[in-house]
Amino acid sequence: MTRTAAPKTRRRTTLIGWSFILPNFLGFAALTLVPVVAALALSFMEWDSYSTPEWVGLANFTRMWNNSTFWVALWNTCYYAIGHIPLTLVAALGFAMLLNRPLRGVGLFRTALFFPYVTSLVAVAVVWNMLFSPDLGPVNQFLRGIGVDNPPGWTTSSDWAMPAVILTSVWRDMGYYMVLYLAGLQTIPQELYEAAKVDGAGRWARFRHITLPSLRPTTFFVVIMLTISSFKVFDLVQVMTEGGPGRSTLVLSQLIFREGITQGRFGYSSAISMVLFVIVLLVTLIQFRLQQRSER
């Protein structure tokens, strides 16, 4: 109706449209849009809280390139993502498959599996840190019980700290993605399965040829969300290990925080944050491409 209206009414509609968006947009523009653009500009500048900003071109980036801590943090972040993304995805899909059938008490199970995601993060990190205690912690007690003589030192060992963080994060996040998969599963028409059964397709064949392809849009969304959240991991690492032992669990967002806010090196930390941004952007774009190709 508005499309055919006279110019005067159209201008009125534009005003009304903006009036709805404005209260949110003002805050959003000032505190999100402007900082996003500013981060890009800052990465080419030298600036701390006291000096005047100075354009330095790529100096921050060459400094980053030559800094071993940056590479360690980059690798740790990728390590975390490589562990966190597939494990969470498989756990979430598995639980969703188990719960997507007519069972008594299905709601109870769903709540139980979803619980970790809601619990406050510090409590989660604190409890898991204790569960992972090398000597008397329940995890290692269990491992010794099943015959592992020298169980890992978990958060006290530079080799095992990251796996410990990853395990905790998978435990915490899988319930969230399980809900997304449950919603996806419920859009698949039952008739497809019935027809396949008639044709003699077994359980595995039905999963491979009906469930997985039908879930492709959900999986696509889940992978993107997991990627974004993996690359910005901070809270869990900060509370569980503070990046240690040594630099073994130091991730990019901790480095950005340390350089930018603790040390006040605004330009240098913005350069690191550009790297983080570009990685997330690239991974997302690649996934979009793959998704489009598979739809064709």
């Binding site: 209260p23 188990l98 719960l99 809601v118 910005k232």
Partner: protein, 291 residues
């Protein structure tokens, strides 16, 4: 008209009640589910049981699941150790303010994006969506500089402002409004209602489930946020439960039982909120996953 006015169907419905698989398969499925759910719940069980123990009972071989003697005193003593009331109050203040602001401005903006057609609308919406994908860490330093210039570092206001205008709320509400048929607002327009009237009297009442979802998601996220308060709040009396608990662990790292008590207390409010509004919470997540 009456059918149109009914709430759009919930996204997560109960599974189809068609029996599948044999009895053996069913029992196996049950057993697997029960075992896995218990496994997932073990950390909670251990947390609660440890919070009721003597300090030297927390780590024992083998694990004692039921304390020899229930030390309920832990729950009384912890309040003398850390100003938990202050922390809980601060967390509550932040979570409530952020939630109210998000729901108000988010649902209002979402109406503009979903129901009013004007030039530049879709480009603007794209800007919102795009920033959801930008990691917060990528622009938290410029944000911090802005807050510093405004003199808002180490105030609650800084955190409220930072989280109140999130793009996520606008996105979630718009997704939901799109499922409400346009005929409804057209009819209301013909009846002489202004756009604001339509938002307040037609759309808002219809979107109660989505509003509840957004409110719950925002509340839980703000309550559980660690990084925001960690960066912005340096004064002890402004700390949230998350920061307070972390500081307590740092100071008394050998008081295992008391640490567990603190953890339990920090979790109880949020679990209560979650259990009360579970349905909306789950729906909100499912809605945000739909395209």
């Amino acid at each position: 008209m009456t059918t149109l006015l009914e709430t759009p169907p919930a996204v997560v419905t109960t599974p189809p009640a068609k029996p599948r698989g044999g009895t053996a398969g069913k029992i196996l499925g049950y057993a697997l589910l029960i075992a896995l759910s218990l496994l997932v719940m073990i950390p909670f069980a251990w947390m609660v049981s440890s919070s009721l123990k003597q300090n030297n009972e927390v780590f024992t071989v083998p694990i004692q699941w039921i304390p020899a003697e229930f030390r309920v005193e832990n729950f009384a003593e912890i309040w003398d150790r850390i100003p938990l009331w202050t922390y809980l109050g601060n967390s509550m203040l932040l979570s409530v303010s952020v939630t109210v602001m998000q729901v108000l401005t988010g649902s209002f903006a979402a109406y503009g994006f979903a129901k009013v057609r004007f030039p530049g609308r879709d480009a603007l919406f794209l800007a919102y969506i795009a920033t959801i994908a930008v990691p917060w860490q990528a622009y938290m330093v410029p944000q911090y500089i802005i807050m510093q210039k405004l003199g808002l570092v180490d105030t609650h206001l800084s955190l409220i402002l930072l989280q109140a205008f999130g793009a996520f709320g606008v996105f979630l509400m718009r997704q939901y409004y799109l499922t409400i048929p346009d005929e409804l607002s057209e009819a209301a327009r013909l009846d002489g209602l202004s756009e604001y009237g339509i938002w307040a009297r037609v759309i808002l009442p219809l979107s109660k489930p989505a509003l509840a979802s957004l409110a719950l998601l925002t509340f839980v996220n703000t309550w559980n946020d660690y990084m925001g308060p960690f960066i912005y709040l340096t004064s002890n009396d402004l700390w949230t439960v998350q920061i307070g608990l972390r500081a307590f662990v740092g100071l008394y790292d050998a008081e295992y039982a008391m640490i567990m008590t603190g953890s339990v207390i920090s979790v109880v409010p949020i679990l209560t909120v979650f259990l009360l509004g579970q349905r909306y919470f789950v729906q909100g997540i499912a809605t945000s996953g739909l395209k």
